[in-house]
Amino acid sequence: MGEKVQRREDPRLLTGNGRYLDDLGRGALQAAFVRSPHAHARIVDIDIADAWELDGVEAIYTWEDLPGRVAEPLPVLIPHPAMTHARTGYCLARDEVNHVGEAVVMVVARDRYVAEDACARITVQYDTLPAVVGVARARDGDRLVHDDVPGNVAANLRQEVGDVDTAMAAAPHTLTLELAIERSACMPMEGKGVFARWDADDGSLRLYSSTQTSTGVRAAVAAKLELPLAKVEVVTPDVGGGFGVKIVHPWPEEVLVPWAARNLGRDVKWTEDRREHFVSSAHERGQLQEVTVGFDDDGRLLALDVHFWHDNGAYTPYGIIVPIITATQLLGPYKPGAYRVEFWSLYTNTVLVTPYRGAGRPQGCYAMERTMDAIAEHRGLDRAEVRSRNFIQPDEMPWDHGLMFQDGRPLKYDSGDFPASLAKLKALVGWDDFAAYREQAAREGRRVGLGIGCYVEGTGVGPYEGGHVQVETSGRVNVATGLTTQGQGHQTILAQIVADELGVPFDDVHVTTGDTRRMAYAVGTFASRGAVMSGNAVALAARVVRAKALRIAAEALEVSPDDLDIADGVVSVKGAPGTSIALKTVAVMSNPLRYAFDASAAAATQFAGTFDPDTPPVGDDDEPGLEGQDFYSPTQATFANGMHAAVVETDPVTAEIRILRYCVVHDCGVMVNPMIVEGQVHGGVAQGVGGALYERMVYDEGGQLLNASFMDFLMPYASEVPHIETDHLETPSPLNPLGIKGAGEAGTIPVSAVIASAIEDAEGFPIRSMPISPAELWELRRRHAASDPHPVPVQEDPR
């Protein structure tokens, strides 16, 4: 624990020995889909005759062909009382399509080339309907996505703590900010993919999916295909990134591919291509926000009143998790005074919206931090100072905001030292020296700005994860946890934890994730929960095994378990290392045998050694084998936090924006592997930079996604991502045995807020819409020069 251990996964992945979804099932039939070219339309007719003419086509399916529950709408995964109008799509569109890219026809063919040939020969006639594109249009409600959803409102949720109206009326100063933030997407380098193998003899299904939840897929597919759970196993191979999009399940293809495999009695595979990923996976981030804040002369918050309108796309399979997180995590490290937040989650005829790394937090952080800067500007105060004055103090932990979080549990911060984090950040970026730097730059004709953003992230939400630890008689330690891995290094960090807990060499520990054959109970990988949940689960399981090992060894050595210790795979008497027994020998002893398969096993057979004839070989409250299982299930999330600062330079003429420095102070409690934590921060910041300066989903009014390629959706290359300077604070979480808080999403959360803050500082006018391109900044300059600022800037209430 705490060591920069090199990753176990790497040599395999670096040498072409990884096994990602599309690397499996060589020779399997391949699926491709006819997808809707229209954002909103009724399906009039589907003509597949031409496609059947093609050699190599094995099956063509439309909704009409789907049986039973496969033909029913996909599940609403996370129902919520406020989501009065949940709507989900079908595996194949039934009679209406609601976004470009929605699957209409499935083709299964010899290979993907032929499958695409067949798709090209299928004609679908549509009656097009008016499309609802963009939050503003959806909010207008004059056009509807779903006929039976008035105002396009999937959900309306309001939470209030304190009396906002009274506090606002009494506040010496108020400001209102109107803010906008656009769509981006997870965009893992590997798209989704499913490979199904139906065993007709056994009536069972083996399903491989590039997913963030194998147990979730298993349960959903078993339900859809009406198979006993015992006849479905789901294995997650190497996954080429997830970032949220692969937590949604079942994707239509996760149902259709195994269904087709069973139908055809053949292996069937679907590998999503990049264009499909753009138009048929998921996006995130699009919101319009209105923040009204009341504060005193010193910039202290008295009342905060937030309304926002969230674009949930065409369907709501993942519920309203994203806007709930925005509504709650918006508060960051601050005490808001009285707080009221109300949101409307709105349907649009666009790709659905589900969590993307940060999951609503980047939007919330953006709203709060833009507000902090506006207060500082209004009061003529230092921006860091205003933040500092509003911090929850370390001695006020745990801090209960009085709100309900995304897991249905209280939004109660368990730990964090925000003043200390801010001090570290100011030192790292040189906050107090920036004025001098700015003057120096100005003398050189350069325009620079400094930005800051703070956030708190609820990580490691429940309900639970499990760990299973087994010591083989060879000394090999097998560890299984059910959540999946997409590059976070779980095989390394979980092995580190178990090696420490159990007292065995790191190299002896082997970790399996995301395989329902090895761990049938699990939730999934999201919400920065891998290390918190499975880390603690495997630690607890290792403790079970350790206790058992000590008990067996104590009997063998005729000492008390309290007198024993385990180190380097050997159980020995404290202070008398000569009196010892290898853990692998304990493993032999733990499993009384009738049959010997090797020399070590012989020691456990019934004629070897002595025994008490009055006790059974396996005690009443015991089980054979040196193994154990346990589950970690916390009462609530644990809250990580961090603060970022950036220095940007904007070209005085071309408005090109360059990040000169990017500084991160991060507190995720105890770090299992600081190298991996740092890597997570880097990757998060890079995605944040993408979202702040480069990436957006450009829909036209008709609902066509205009930039559905890597040519026009501008994911940053190395040339666009700055060098990232990091510092860490470790305030352990009191909530879990290891003191861990999650780290996965943190880097992404404040970046749009920070960059907006820095550009605003450089330019001297408010930035109220992100992302921002040079052309947009240039346009803003023109408008401000013409005194026609837009979007609406900070407005002092006229009272």
Binding site: Q6, D10, T15, P188, R274, F710, A718, S719, V721
Partner: protein, 169 residues
């Protein structure tokens, strides 16, 4: 295997990682698919199929090229090197691969083969790059996990390792 008349199979022979490999595939078979599915060399990954992401980068006559923008038939005249050709044994890593381990330059690993091939060819021509040059060298490959910082470090470390290995026969 049956086939449609419009898309006849050709015997395509490409020298891959020093070995002549032949498979029957239609003219439209992308080199990336030929390597992965016809030859079973799945180390070359496909991330976009329009030449932007660089995950499928292989070396054609020693120079980096997008395997998704080349037809296998066109590759017949050339030597193709994939990540497996750089180093296929997890216990015996090439300097670039070793540097990636040391610098934590990969997370999910999907884009990684394209970086390894690209960097390998780059270091052949530029054995001692600066940090800025290293960053530029990898600026044609997308990675969604690492933020690139550790890949830049790995380029520099790989250059060091290459020099060390050359220095010690």
């Amino acid at each position: 295997m049956s086939q449609s008349a419009a898309d006849p199979l050709l015997d395509i022979t490409v020298r891959v990682n020093g070995v002549r490999r032949t498979a029957a595939a239609p003219a439209r078979r992308l080199l990336s698919d030929f390597l992965r599915h016809d030859l079973g060399l799945t180390g070359t990954h496909v991330g976009c199929e329009h030449g932007v992401c660089g995950a499928c980068t292989v070396l054609v006559d020693g120079e980096p090229a997008r395997a998704c923008l080349m037809f296998a038939v066109t590759a017949q005249a050339h030597d193709v090197t994939t990540v497996e050709g750089i180093g296929h044994d997890p216990a015996d890593l090439d300097p670039v691969q070793q540097a990636f381990v040391e610098c934590h330059a990969l997370q999910c690993g999907f884009c990684t083969p394209g970086f390894v091939t690209t960097i390998s060819a780059y270091l052949d021509e530029h054995p001692d790059p600066s940090a800025d040059e290293a960053r530029e060298a990898i600026s044609g490959n997308l990675c969604r996990c690492t933020g690139y910082q550790n890949i830049v470090a790995a380029v520099l470390r790989a250059a060091e390792l290459r020099r060390e290995r050359e220095g010690t026969p």
